[in-house]
């Protein structure tokens, strides 16, 4: 068997187009322009690339984009003051503080200061709790992207056996909640799990989110299973360059799986598109409008 490749680039582009159409509609019908504020502290090169990409895509979707760049030595009080201002700003519906923050700043305090209604990264305990309780919530973007990619293969996830490898707050744990909401049966495995290959072998849906290059092998995978690879690992490549690989041994697994996401070009493509979805949803919720059609 050769797996169908789940093309994150195409699916993300479609999603962004649907967001743009809904933004156009709420502008027309409700004079509402969703706005996203991104806060970047310091000048980590990778973070700068992400923030630029968010800015470009936000504007391309017809939303307002607000960038706030602060020096690496900014005081925690000043950062909290900025967040308080953004919380009050009626033009801002989503607030994203780019992580990681400098060590001098207490990340949890900063995240807890964001108005949960504007927490488009879905990291505030209130959103995590609403998600864990099965209520409507802004959910983290990467897990949301994983669900959308899976839904491109399976119209319904009901009753499917899913395994999530990795239990981070950013991906594994919220992904479990989203899968439960889709009525999948979910197993959460992690570094302390035994018999990981056997646990995987009965899964219809495999989510790898551990950060270990090519850990998931072909022998672990049930023939025909859908494999979603959240890992992005940088390995030394030819001629002193680096190459990106996922947590799944792509080449061999794609001989067994029914469908698989590549790295790059899979889950990574979805994150910013899902951030736009969350910003649109937050804007509609704050304005008291019905949930948008995306």
């Amino acid at each position: 068997m050769t797996a169908r490749i789940i093309d994150g680039k195409v699916i993300a582009a479609e999603l962004r187009a649907r967001v743009a159409a809904e933004v156009e509609r709420v502008k027309c019908e409700h004079q509402l322009t969703p706005g996203l504020a991104v806060v970047l502290v310091g000048n980590d090169p990778a973070s700068e690339v992400y923030v630029r990409s968010k800015h470009t895509q936000t504007q391309a979707a017809g939303m307002a984009s607000f960038e706030h760049k602060l020096p690496a030595d900014v005081g925690q009080g000043d950062l909290l003051a900025l967040i308080a201002k953004l919380n009050r700003d009626p033009a801002v519906h989503g607030i994203l503080v780019q992580l990681p923050l400098p060590k001098s700043i207490h990340t949890e305090t900063i995240i807890n200061a964001i108005d949960p209604a504007k927490d488009v990264d879905g990291l505030h305990p209130n959103n995590a709790g609403r998600l864990a309780g099965g209520f409507a919530a802004l959910s983290p973007c990467t897990p949301l992207g994983c669900i959308i990619l899976t839904r491109s293969v399976h119209a319904s996830l009901e009753g499917l056996n899913a395994i999530v490898i990795g239990r981070s707050n950013l991906v594994g744990r919220p992904l479990v909640q989203l899968l439960l909401n889709e009525n999948a049966t979910v197993t959460i495995a992690h570094s302390r799990s035994k018999d990981l290959p056997q646990l995987c072998a009965r899964a219809d849906l495999v989510y790898a989110a551990v950060g270990r290059p090519e850990m998931v092998r072909a022998s672990w995978i049930k023939p025909g299973a859908t494999v979603i690879d959240v890992g992005i690992n940088r390995l030394p490549g030819a001629e002193g360059k680096t190459r990106l690989v996922g947590d799944v041994a792509f080449k061999e697994v794609s001989e067994v799986a029914g469908a698989i996401t590549p790295v790059p070009g899979g889950v990574g493509q979805m994150t910013v598109a899902c951030l736009l979805v969350n910003t649109l949803r937050a804007a509609c919720a704050i304005r008291g409008l019905p949930k948008p059609g995306v």
Copy 2:
């Protein structure tokens, strides 16, 4: 094989004794008397029994117990005003609103009004979110009791395969988080799961929390597994009486399991004892003291 019976009555009594000793210590060393306020709306007979039992056990542990009984037709505003008063009251460290509430009252609004630091039922989204995020949190009492019962059999749950059947906010979902914190590998099954017997068959730890009398059968259970039965179902018994049964077919499963909780006398015994644990922990946290030794 005949399973070891996990005696909830004995384990709960030991736990209450440990709480009482710690209460004595914080009274002596820190002049702190932990206080629990229980709010009962209406006169549901079952709720009245629970509230009386909480009152008696709280006092027996050396804590202050405050009861607030409101008529079934109390206005939501009046109930919110009482909660605001209890939130401010320095003698009150735990607030429990007995559920279910009358239909005229919006339960979620009431729970969200409780100060998360005093939410000894662990139902506030902030606590659920902290628990889901792997942070210190007040966790719901019944799942906490399940973990303590399991730990009476297994010194460590690390790497054990657990299955939780049922995904309620009160039991199944928080229990998954507590099991993850114990480094177990966790599968969450529910009404839409397929092949439940096969899913159970590979579990070292089985938690049944579905509310279906004697659903879990001996043929589902791996020999030697530990079975924790959260169900409390009332069936017609002899001479027009009713009898209580769990979600597990106790008689046949106890021939296969390594250890099992009975119904009654298992998980149900632990709930109030865990409420006392949470009240003690909340009192210490509010006063800025280290986590108590229980």
